[in-house]
Every structure is written in C-alpha cells, then in structure tokens.
Symmetry: none
Subunit: 277 residues, 2 copies
DNA sequence: TCGCCGGCGTAACGTTTGATACGTTTTCTG
DNA sequence: CAGAAAACGTATCAAACGTTACGCCGGCGA
C-alpha cells in the first residue's frame, strides 16, 4: 500500500516502457511540481512526447490528466497544511497522545497569525471601535460560544454591542432594525450552517457591514463579507479546533480595548460599582 | 521587503478594491494552492468574477496569470525543498502591538501545559467519559462561553450533557435534580463570581462531583472541587486571556472523544442524518 | 525473410483557458 | 445633487490545452 503517489510510481517503475519510465523518473526528480505543469511542458522537460505522458498517467490508473493533477494537488495541500507531520513527532511519546494535539493547536495559531496581518486586524478593530456603529455577533453550532465571549468583552468596553440569541426565526426580528450603520460579526466554520448564510445574505441586502471569522476553507458567507479573517482549525482529531479563532477574537477585543481606553476604564469602573451592590 | 508573495499581498491588502481584496484573502486563506488552479475556479471559490482575479494579478505586478503562477510555483518548489526554512517569525517586530499579546498567549498555553499533567487531564476525561454520569457545565461572565463550547462538543459525543443556562435563580431548579451521579464542571476566573461559588457550595452539599477550571490564582470554588485545573491567564492588557482555558477545554473534549470512539462516531452519524432532513 | 505487435511520435480535433472590450453599477467629488 | 471616475460583471475571442486517431519504426517469433 503506497501512501504517496511518488511511491506508487517507484514501485511500478520496472514494468514500464522505456520512455514512460523516463517520464516517471523525471517526475520523481522534481516531485511533484513537474506534474502540476501542462502536459506539453512535462513532456518537453522529460524529453518525451505528450502522448507518452498521457499514457503514463493512464497506466497509473487515472482517467485523465486532470484527475492525476487533482491527486497531486490534494497530496500537496495535505502536506502544506500540517507542516509538523514532517517535522516529526518531537514530543509525542512523552505525554502520551496529549502533546500532538497541543502542538497542532500551537502550530495552527502561529500559522494563523502568519497569514493574518496586523493591518487587517486593525481595520476590523477600527470598525468595531466606531461608537456610531452598532455591533451584532453570532456564530454557528460550535462557534457561537466564541461570539458570546467576544460580546461579553466588547459590551463592557462600549455600548451598542449585542449577541444574537435564540433561534433563526428570532433573528429576523432583529434584522428589521439593522441598516448601514450596523456591523454583523459572524463566526462560521465547517460544516457551514445554512441559517448563518441566510442571515448574512439578508443582512448584506440591508447594507449591514459583515465581518466574517472562518476557517481556512472559507465559509460561503465570505461572499457577503466586507472583512474576512481565516484561522487554521485542523488538528489530529475527529473534530476541528477553534482555538485559533478564539485567540483571533481575543486580539480583536484587545485592539478595541486599546483604542477606547477611556470608555473601557470608565465602563469597567461603573460596572464594578454596579456589581458591588 | 516582502520575502514571500503572501506577504506582498497582505501588505497591499488595504489599498485594493473590495472584490480584489476578497479574492486576495481567499488566496491567502488556502495559500498557495488556490492560485495554482485555473482563473475560473479561483474566481468561483473567491466569489468574484474572472476578470477580477486577473486585475488582482495585474495589480500585484505580473504581466499575466501564467507569470503569476510561475512565481507561486517557484516559491512552492523552494519551500518543498527546504521545509525548515519556513517563513517563520520574520514579522514579530514589524507588527508592533500585536505580537507581544500573541506571544504572551502562546507562553501562557505552554506554561499551562507544563504545569497541568497528563494524568490530571486523564482523570477528568475518565470522569467525563463515564456514561452513568450526568454532566452539567457552567461558567462566569467571561468563561461561560467556554462552558457552552465544551457543552456543544460533549453533547455530541455522549448523552446526558447540558449547559446551565439562564440566571442564578434558575440554577436552583436544576440543583434539585443533582446528586452523587452528577458532575458539575465550573469555569471561573478573576473576578470570581459569588453566584458560582454559591452554586458550587450547594452542589457540593448534594454530593455532586465538581470539576473546576480556573486561573493560576485559584477560584475559591477550589475548596469544593474534586478536580482543579489552573490555566495561565495574564497578558499585557487590561483584561485576562482565557485562551489557555479554551485550549484546556478542547483537550478535555479530545480526550473524551478518543475514549468514546464508538459513541461519538455513532452519534455524529445520527446527528448528521437528523440534520439532513 | 516475412509478418506481427507493442512502443512511440506527428498531426489534427474539440474543448477549455486566459485575456479583453464593453456596458452597467457604484462610489467619490466638487 | 449632478457629473466623473472607478469598480465590477457579462459577453466574446483567440490561443493553448488535453485528447485521440493514425502511421512509422524496431524487435521478436515463425
């Protein structure tokens, strides 16, 4: 059982015609990039003709060249997504199953912030700091808690922040009051929820500014969003980790706090006073 | 001086038209694979039209799409050859105020898991995996979302999991049904909430097993808790970061998932079926 | 030596692709 | 609020692409 396409090729290298073997070796020589180029270029660089390439691909069991390229693409994408799978299981043995998950999360977080720029965050922070704006937050099945968390913090710092509670049909009532000056922050990761998409679509139609926090595969809501932040979510487990999204949310909170220092301090004091009673 | 194309894009993200920016964000979200596909697919996945993609490419300084793809290809080839020379933390200085917060969070997480032992987590996981137990989760003002998040996941894996909604006085009604076979998971960080303390005290009096997730200063609930996990929360900001707690919660979820593989798989399938209707 | 067969490249076909011109819509600006 | 400029999608075209049919070439057996 060959795990990668490269191995499959090497295995079957012996029972191949001469030119096909040359092509296969050329592919392995700079794998997998050569296979992602056009047939003509592949052929030229291997010193054979185009049909030979196609015959090779057919011999490997692919219906056509596109299918072959897709396979290479998937393999490559998987490899890029989890760079630590190559780096090796540094600490995996010691803690028995806990550490790989942790390091995957840490990796996700670093990778997320390698991709998300401070400028991007800054723009969203500016939006969320605008006192004339009203802010509504909502999330999906697993991400709604993050929306709530963000709401809890922002609501302290500034007025006009609310979480969209309840069921979908209750959202509609809230939509009526939304307009150009409203901001809708949506958290949505796989499997993307239709209800959120509908909400975003309607909000967009009403001129609401939409901020989307999603995973690297991008929720379809991206279509309607003015701002999109994508966090990495894949971990070696049956489910996806929202840790990176959580930390993104905390960065937004931190940004708004920093931007509205007086308000937040005043409101915190005020709320502390209220609580003491 | 941007070393990678991704950075170039992120830098120039602000002075781009809206749709081009969306396209650019989509590219960065799953970089660089999306850029290696055809213009049409790129466009569709970004939710824009083909010409927008081409305009984006032109704006980035490439003569045509092929040249752009070549650049991505070269970069990818270079990355594949030396996996260690990952673009890395090149930006920590440049981004100013963001990085310190991020590194503080990462530091908190590492430190938390240096202190919390796998055995500790394992015991709690075993408790939460016991099918005869009923599990109730609750949190404070800022940590309740984490309780909700944990609930959302555990409820999929096994039956008998519920979040304590509503106000403090509603909790009393739920307390009546709790007994020795119940587990109460409490999230509580500074400033510790009296309401949670009262709840824990009463639950403890009824023989409920209490699991406490708190900060390094330990909530007073620790007095009643059978299990205590402390996460680091301090960051250079006006508030505390719950990121470490969130990741602790995800580790508990992962542990239970791993321990109840059949149940979780079966329940996930079942719920998927229910949702499809 | 002749005939057969797999290996291989040439050439032509139909499709898909990147690219461009144009009209509509939106967004600045005075 | 009018006018201009920019942004964006639709429609269209030519070039490049993958694919297939066909015929040549060399090796092996009769």
């Amino acid at each position: 059982m060959a795990s990668s396409i490269a191995e499959t090729i090497t295995d079957r290298l012996t029972d191949m015609p001469a030119r096909e073997r040359r092509a296969a070796q050329a592919l392995i020589a700079n794998y997998p990039m050569l296979g992602l180029k056009t047939v003509a270029e592949f052929a030229q660089r291997a010193g054979v003709s185009s049909p030979t390439i196609l015959r090779l691909v057919a011999r490997l069991g692919y219906q056509n060249y596109a299918e072959f390229q897709s396979a290479l693409n998937d393999e490559l994408a998987a490899r890029l997504q989890s760079p630590l799978s190559r780096t090796g299981r540094a600490r995996s043995n010691r803690d028995g199953g806990v550490a790989p998950l942790l390091s995957a999360m840490l990796e996700n977080i670093s990778e997320t912030f390698r991709v998300v720029s401070a400028k991007q965050l800054g723009e969203i922070v500016a939006l969320l700091s605008d006192p004339r704006r009203r802010i509504h937050l909502v999330g999906g099945r697993f991400t709604d808690p993050i929306a709530r968390y963000t709401t809890a913090h922002l609501a302290i710092i500034r007025p006009g922040v609310a979480h969209l509670d309840g069921q979908e049909n209750q959202w509609r009532d809230r939509l009526i009051d939304m307009g150009r000056r409203d901001v809708l922050v949506v958290f949505d990761i796989r499997r993307y929820q239709d209800s959120l998409l509908h909400l975003a679509e309607k909000a967009n139609a009403r001129g609401v500014t939409i901020v989307l926090v999603t995973d690297q595969w991008l929720s379809p809501i991206a279509r309607f969003a003015s701002y999109v932040i994508a966090g990495r979510t894949s971990v070696p487990s049956a489910w996806d980790s929202s840790a990176a999204l959580f930390i993104l949310a905390e960065h937004l909170i931190a940004g708004v706090t920093e931007r509205l220092p007086e308000q937040s301090a005043a409101r915190i004091r005020e709320m502390d006073a209220l609580r003491r009673e």
